[in-house]
């Protein structure tokens, strides 16, 4: 490998590379700045935030906003609900995806093309919002927790990605060898395929968990009872519609009113930070598998 030593970078190439570095640095700042601004504001005093004094680092550091969030009961209920929906929804969704993708990756499976066409049609065409809503309604799922988890559990796109992964990374020789040793289809799937499929499992878990944690629309149309609201729906009221209700602080004292207004501002920033953390925490663990899983799963040569 001494080619790199014999052919030197031309001056033009070095300028080009410098431009690439500058370009990427600008992108980095543009993406990072909004995140840093929110984080700094959440740690600053309300007066500094509203007075436009915060632009990079926290001013008059305080944890008031975070303390406020801890006192806000609806946020906690939302957190708990979102946790339930995310865990159960992900377990169900990933199981269904594997259960559909694995048999379809096996040549011994009869009628595969019928299934694959059925999946493709489901991916390209759907009945739309209203018929889907009516099905959920007919199944008696309205205003139940299952409406958030069950109807959207099977994602056909994930099935195709997982099927391609199994097809390309589980050679049929492996199955034949296992079969000779007396291993059946069930055992082959649970003992050999799944342990070897961490990249695709990581991708499926990530897709499903992030989707479920961030979703609000299904809850909006299927749920009435506020005790079942996921976090995002609570956040929508606070962040987007500006409805904050301090039920435990209702008072007409004007001093308190100002305090409450300040609190509202801080609360928003802290909420954004707190609710984004759970997702950002799992991301590094999954990321290393991610590129490999997506790539092997989606590309077939």
């Amino acid at each position: 490998m001494y080619k790199a030593a014999t052919i030197r970078e031309s001056g033009q190439d070095r300028i080009f590379l410098l431009c690439v570095y500058i370009f990427l640095s600008i992108i980095l700042v543009l993406v990072f700045y909004p995140l840093l601004y929110i984080l700094s504001s959440s740690l600053s005093s309300a007066a500094a935030v509203q007075g436009g004094k915060v632009w990079l680092w926290p001013v008059d550091p305080t944890l008031d906003g975070y303390i406020g969030v801890f006192k806000y009961n609806e946020v906690w209920t939302g957190f708990l609900n979102s946790f339930i929906y995310t865990v159960s929804g992900t377990v169900l969704s990933v199981s269904l995806t594997i259960m559909m993708a694995y048999p379809l990756s096996r040549k011994e499976m009869f009628g595969r093309s019928v299934w694959i066409w059925a999946i493709l049609i489901a991916m390209l065409f759907n009945g739309g919002l209203i018929p889907f809503y009516l099905v959920v309604k007919d199944l008696g799922m309205l205003n139940t927790r299952s409406a958030i988890i069950v109807p959207t559990a099977l994602n056909v796109f994930s099935v195709i990605v997982a099927k391609t992964f199994f097809q390309t990374s589980m050679p049929k020789e492996l199955y034949e060898a296992a079969q000779l040793d007396g291993c059946g289809d069930f055992r082959f799937l649970t003992r050999i395929v799944l342990p070897l499929s961490t990249p695709i499992l990581a991708v499926l878990v990530l897709w499903s968990a992030v989707g479920q944690w961030n979703a609000y629309f299904n809850a909006l149309i299927y749920l009435n009872s506020r005790t079942m609201y996921p976090l995002q729906l609570v956040l929508r009221e606070i962040l987007v519609e500006n409805q904050i209700s301090f039920t435990n602080m209702s008072s007409i004292d004007p001093n308190k009113l100002v305090l409450m207004q300040n609190m509202e501002t801080l609360l928003k920033y802290s909420l954004i930070v707190i609710t984004t953390i759970p997702i950002l925490v799992i991301y590094p663990f999954v990321q290393k598998h991610f590129v490999k899983g997506v790539f092997v799963g989606s590309v077939k040569e």
């Binding site: 190439d13 990427l24 993406v31 099977l154 099935v159 195709i160 962040l239 987007v240 950002l280 077939k300």
Partner: protein
């Protein structure tokens, strides 16, 4: 690159009586591999209930749906709901807004992701590359609700960085972008770019990693510059991926990011922010006009299906790459 493998279409040229062989093969497969069929039964049930049952439900677009009589017993009214949608004053604005948002987004997002991926691919400093990738990728995990909340804070005309910037420049009144009809499409598109470009670039980076390294070596020996290498090796190398992603996004052309549009909507920008899917939600679930909303939804799905088929066909003719 194909999402669906072609091997199941291979002709069974050896068999004399195909049906006989097939029936035997089927029986043998059922007996020997019954676990496979047992495993696939449950997800198949989900597919039928939550994909195909709603497809049957689209018939309410042709019926005068009454909740008491149900989908199957409501009386037929033919294309009446479609006629009233096509002739309503909302029709063209809805179609125009929907197409504006989605075409604008597709046209900007694919080049942005490609440029980011190609630039990252040039970087030799692994740590810098990792940092840029990690940060550009992170916004993908922020929920739509949080994103819109952040936009309200940052673009606020009274406090926040935008107001601060205007103040620094000596101008006192920053525009209230979120409340303007003209700015809506740009707000929608560029916030999407901020959120999704890093994620889009991952796929192109993976495609670039799959390019045969001998091509680069040969190009180096022939004295190609970095720009020429990008032009003649990188871009052709990722074009199949680009085409697949283009087809997929064209298929979703009429079902643009409902969730974000819905959250960004307010009375002041409604003239440019009302799109077909938000209108379906409002007429169908808020005003309970099920048949009318189902008709609009069906129109939306059908046009999407036609568009994806056309683009897929064109891509196959022109470049030999297609989704199906």
């Amino acid at each position: 690159m194909r999402l669906v493998s072609q091997e199941e279409n291979q002709p069974d040229s050896m068999s004399i009586s195909i049906s006989e062989t097939k029936r035997n093969a089927m029986r043998r497969s059922f007996v020997r591999h019954w676990p496979l069929y047992a495993i696939i039964a449950l997800p198949t049930a989900f597919l039928i209930v939550f994909s195909y049952w709603p497809m049957l439900g689209v018939q309410i677009a042709f019926r005068n749906y009454s909740p008491v009589r149900g989908i199957w017993n409501s009386s037929w009214i033919g294309l009446q709901e479609f006629h009233s949608f096509f002739s309503s004053p909302y029709f063209w604005p809805l179609v125009k807004n929907t197409l504006t948002l989605s075409v604008y987004y597709i046209v900007v997002s694919i080049p942005c992701a490609v440029i980011l991926a190609v630039a990252l691919n040039e970087v030799r400093n692994e740590r810098f590359k990792k940092v840029v990738q990690m940060f550009t990728y992170a916004p993908y995990f922020i929920s739509t609700v949080i994103l819109v909340g952040m936009m309200q804070i940052i673009l606020s005309p009274t406090s926040g960085p935008l107001a601060l910037l205007f103040h620094e420049l000596g101008r006192s009144n920053p525009p209230n972008i979120l409340a303007s009809a003209n700015g809506f499409s740009s707000i929608y598109v560029w916030s999407g770019i901020w959120q999704e470009t890093g994620y889009g670039a991952v796929i192109y980076l993976a495609a670039l990693a799959g390019v045969n390294p001998e091509l680069y070596e040969a190009a180096r020996i022939d004295g190609a510059s970095r720009l020429q290498k990008i032009r003649y090796i990188d871009l052709p190398g990722i074009s199949p991926t680009m085409i697949i992603l283009l087809i997929l996004s064209v298929g979703g052309l009429l079902s643009v990011g409902f969730e974000k549009v819905f959250l960004l909507q307010n009375n002041l920008n409604l003239s440019t922010s009302e799109i077909i899917s938000t209108y379906v939600y409002k007429t169908g679930l808020i005003n309970a006009d099920f048949s009318f909303a189902a008709a609009i939804g069906l129109f939306n799905s059908l046009v999407g299906l036609i568009l994806i088929s056309i683009v897929n066909f064109a891509a196959r003719k022109v470049s030999d790459n297609s989704l199906f």
